[in-house]
Subunit: 348 residues, 2 copies
DNA sequence: TTGTACGCGTTATCAT
DNA sequence: ATGATAACGCGTACAA
């Protein structure tokens, strides 16, 4: 015989069997009482007492094996320290926690292979679903998402025909809001500090900027356009390059980190903001309000996108057969001191 | 008979049985091959082929039930959006991920009951361990941690005799570094904007401030001390109250968020930084370098504390019998523009 | 080397 | 209402 011990926990912690034995009932009755199902008053009393005495706590893993649910939801983003993703994560965690579930976070470093590997790992079902916000969505991403046995929700742009739940914003239009505002307040030589053009956000913002200028009959001046990374240091460097060769009366930045870098470049170079140069960022993170002067910024609803994505995911977990859904969060411009019209008008 | 189906997965996804049947071997052989244990070349070939054909992926939950390990590690902090915790979380995630595990995050809102409830939930073993950074450690915290079947590591102050792994810094000394620096650069009327005194960090910083002043023979002036919350808005309001009734030549803030608020209050009030008032924050978050002027700040090694805590936890998971350990991360002052000595000396 | 069978801890089904 | 037992999917001790 193999059975050295039968239902006697190896580490001394009580199981249903422990409780059942102590209460003098079957494990079935014990389980029923512990799950609030029907039983006689006497049985209920005995089981409750036994459970309390031994300090019984149900094992989450065993329960998961039975229920085929882990109660976990994953979030995969490039960098969990980036203010945009922090805002998303915060909102997602709130929704997930309020549903009694928990959030598993992954930092992908924007590395495509790690992202797809993560998606493929969903096949082992360590979570009930995943929210992913990739910089770029490849075919590998798509097939991995479609083959996943647990639902995936994408925050960001996605092919129209992709059968995947999706929450997106329209950063192109968002750039337009900023340009319109700057033009309306008398700015004409509008500079643009963008992120890499081979990313989805970078490309969309570039297109939006040129389209918006065209809408006002302004010819784009390539000397007023500079590209760096979506980071503070890169933004500052890019702004410095731009300022060294041109004299904009406004600077639009592809995100708030870049805008903060640009602010440094401007102030260090002796430019007054907004008097000499108006400054507008994007993402409208907490950072924008913390700067002096406070930064105008185009909100792309990061928190709202996170919230909506979490809700979509929870719905689909509950109802897997739902058709793919696509939600839009519109951009909105928050005007603050950094781009307020100045009495004397911009430096001429 | 009950057995409608025997080892035939309900959702159509392959299990070891599927693979074994297809390869014409027993599940034991299949399992062995899939886990890289010994088997004949022929068996290996057949099993590998069968697994590939049906797209077999091991089920994480079943594996956990067997191994008594989830491969998950939890982190519980007040607010996953606070720059300090973001820095910690980033470092922790990196360590955890590099060990092949995953990170579950919890936002406690600084709510004591939720924190202790979270610790008690460890009894159901949904994770292999937890890192927690409580604002305050109650007896409830301690008993919950001690009774937990999985290891807990605390980032922050803890009773000396608490048998719990612990990583801490010395913010009291940290405050001293800042005061020393300010005094050495000619400041005498040093103001202090602190967080709530009934929190561990708030109390430590208050004590440190008074002790440091005493060390320089300076009498603490209560009008130069103000208390708010550890947040931007509260910090700004607190600084405004202080500036309305006193004229400090330096301002020390209990964290960087407060310091940013104070910077706003100073600049909005027409004070020059550092010329009129030197400014020093604490935590040395990324925020400090993003401000203009860049903020001096006392580093309390948030990322380093996170990294060390994660390593302690992983070690203890591997070796549960280890004696409790206590690690210290020393504070360090980063001097930047906001507190650099000014040629003319501070306004007199 | 290979197969049989048990155990992980829980819930659910069936028969009593 | 209660108890015996299958089942979730995996790993492995033991016997062959």
């Amino acid at each position: 015989m193999v059975r050295k011990r039968l239902h006697d926990p190896v580490d001394g912690r009580p199981t249903v069997h422990t409780v059942a034995a102590r209460a003098g009932v079957s494990i079935a009755s014990a389980s029923r009482v512990l799950n609030g199902l029907g039983a006689s008053d006497e049985t209920i009393r005995k089981v409750r007492a036994a459970a309390a005495e031994v300090g019984y706590v149900p094992n989450a893993i065993a329960r998961s094996l039975q229920s085929q649910r882990t109660g976990l939801v994953a979030l995969a983003v490039e960098d969990i320290g980036n203010p945009v993703y922090v805002a998303m994560m915060r909102a997602i965690e709130a929704v997930v926690a309020s549903s009694g579930r928990q959030l598993v976070v992954h930092a992908t470093g924007g590395h495509i292979p790690s992202e797809t590997a993560l998606l493929r790992r969903l096949a082992n079902r360590y979570v009930d679903g995943m929210i992913v916000s990739p910089i770029r969505v490849t075919n590998d991403h798509l097939t991995a998402m479609i083959e996943s046995p647990v639902p995936v929700v994408v925050i960001g742009q996605l092919r129209e025909d992709a059968p995947v739940d999706n929450v997106r914003t329209d950063s192109r239009t968002g750039v337009g809001l900023a340009v319109d505002h700057l033009v309306a307040t008398g700015r004409r030589r509008i500079g643009f500090v963008n992120g890499p053009l081979d990313t989805v956000p970078g490309a969309a913002r570039d297109a939006g900027f040129r389209a918006a200028l065209a809408g006002h009959g302004i010819e784009p001046d390539e000397r007023l356009i500079e590209v760096g990374d979506f980071q503070y240091a890169a933004g500052r460097a890019a702004a410095e390059r731009l300022l060294a060769r041109a004299t904009p009366d406004a600077l639009l930045c592809a995100n708030d980190l870049i805008a903060v870098g640009a602010l440094h470049a401007l102030l260090a170079g002796g430019r007054r903001v907004p008097h000499d140069v108006a400054l507008v960022g994007m993402d409208d993170t907490e950072l924008a309000q913390m700067m002096f002067p406070q930064l105008s910024s185009v909100s792309l609803g990061s928190a709202e996108r996170g919230r909506r994505a979490a809700e979509l995911l929870l719905q689909r977990i509950a109802e897997p057969a739902l058709p793919p859904r696509r939600e839009h969060v519109p951009p909105a411009l928050s005007v603050r001191a950094s781009s307020e019209p100045v009495a004397a008008g911009p430096a001429a």
